[in-house]
Symmetry: C2
């Protein structure tokens, strides 16, 4: 349930370290802001991360759009992660059968499981996708988000699809830590882009607000915008707590 | 419609070069066999491709499970492709919004659009995913397969989801060349793994049979197995033609 304080909800995740760590980080840094760094050069990405680091609980990556990716990028990202104490969420949207996602998650050039605390998956292939990812991620204390809805026009993730996604997630509580969804679902989850912090955190009851170019788009003062989103997101959370009383 | 000869159906694809090229290759090499090379070392993969090359119309890759991937691998794969005249199908299962898949398809380390004649996508995000991929792939004469069904247990790609996938594909006939599905749908498509050639080509009316470890699994004679699947698949197609008369 996305109700109660972040601190209180740490206890809901006795089985999952990364969920506890995320909630603790949010509470400690007083930020529910996740910055989506959808840039294609590693230098650009690291610059944004260094600037927003103090104001975020989470950094969201698309590792496979980086043109000059190499292991050095991961090393530098992990140094910033340790310095600013945030978690890393690779927005991979896994969508294949168990045996394939196991390899995609652990192996290849990117070795996502080695550095991403959190990743996400579509429920379409059935439970096998969660089982496959869990085999790799659980021993490393990683966590998975399930895409229960998508905000894009004409999305097929609605109605009974969304219900089935939630049921599937419930069967794997030791690894699935929440949902990506546009409205309030039962369970912890991350919010969506393109909406105001008040809308996402207060009205829709999300735990985390994800912002991309609103922070580092052309002409923006990255630090100023990150601070603003942090404040707005945190105030919306405090408002929500008042309403819950 | 998956009926008529491969050669006759070339005319169904006036808008899409890669679909015509695939059908012509099938007819010319008398093979509807696609080999799924799900291996993690580039040397292993290239060895399999070199052996099965003469017997396939299509090679299916999972580029992101290759541990020692580099540009040299793509170069060697393309040399084999030219030598044996097959097409390359990267089984990426794109599943994000348009702006993201555009980058994932064209950029990053893998630059999939540069070498994969065919790739595939889940319809979940709505039309935007096809539009995004088409912007990149259409100018390069690439083709897209839509995942209308999945054979894995508990798949959510059924019923109205599958119907919506087919409708979505129809709206983009200049780029979508068919479906991945387990049973006969209206439209051209590729078949699925784990079933006999007769089952896939004759009973389910698929155009292509995809085989993986059945050909290069431990202890198998790769050339012998590839020849066997080619023959069985082609005979099943000839049987189907007889039944259609």
């Amino acid at each position: 349930m996305s109700s109660g304080t972040y601190a209180q909800r740490v206890n809901n995740f006795s089985q999952n370290k990364v969920a506890r760590k995320l909630l603790e980080t949010i509470e400690q840094k007083k930020t529910n802001l996740c910055v989506a760094v959808d840039l294609t050069k590693k230098r650009q990405i690291l610059e944004v991360v260094e600037k927003v680091g103090p104001y975020v609980c989470l950094i969201k990556t698309h590792i496979d759009i980086i043109e000059d990716f190499d292991q050095g990028f991961i090393d530098e990202l992990c140094i910033l992660q340790a310095r600013f104490n945030f978690l890393i969420f690779e927005d991979r949207k896994f969508a294949d059968i168990g045996n394939t996602v196991k390899l995609q998650y652990s192996s290849g050039i990117y070795k996502i499981a080695e550095w991403a605390h959190i990743t996400n998956a579509h429920p379409i292939p059935g439970d096998g996708i969660i089982k496959g990812l869990k085999e790799v991620g659980k021993p490393l204390d990683r966590g998975l988000l399930i895409l229960a809805e998508m905000s894009s026009a004409g999305s097929l993730a609605t109605g009974s699809y969304t219900d089935a996604a939630i049921e599937m997630a419930r069967r794997h509580r030791d690894f699935v830590i929440g949902f990506i969804a546009g409205r309030k679902l039962t369970g912890d989850r991350l919010g969506q882009q393109y909406r105001s912090p008040t809308d996402v955190i207060l009205k829709s009851g999300s735990d985390v607000i994800i912002v991309g170019r609103g922070i580092y788009g052309e002409g923006r003062d990255i630090v100023k915008e990150a601070k603003r989103y942090q404040e707005e997101g945190w105030n919306a959370y405090l408002e929500r707590l008042k309403l819950e009383k």
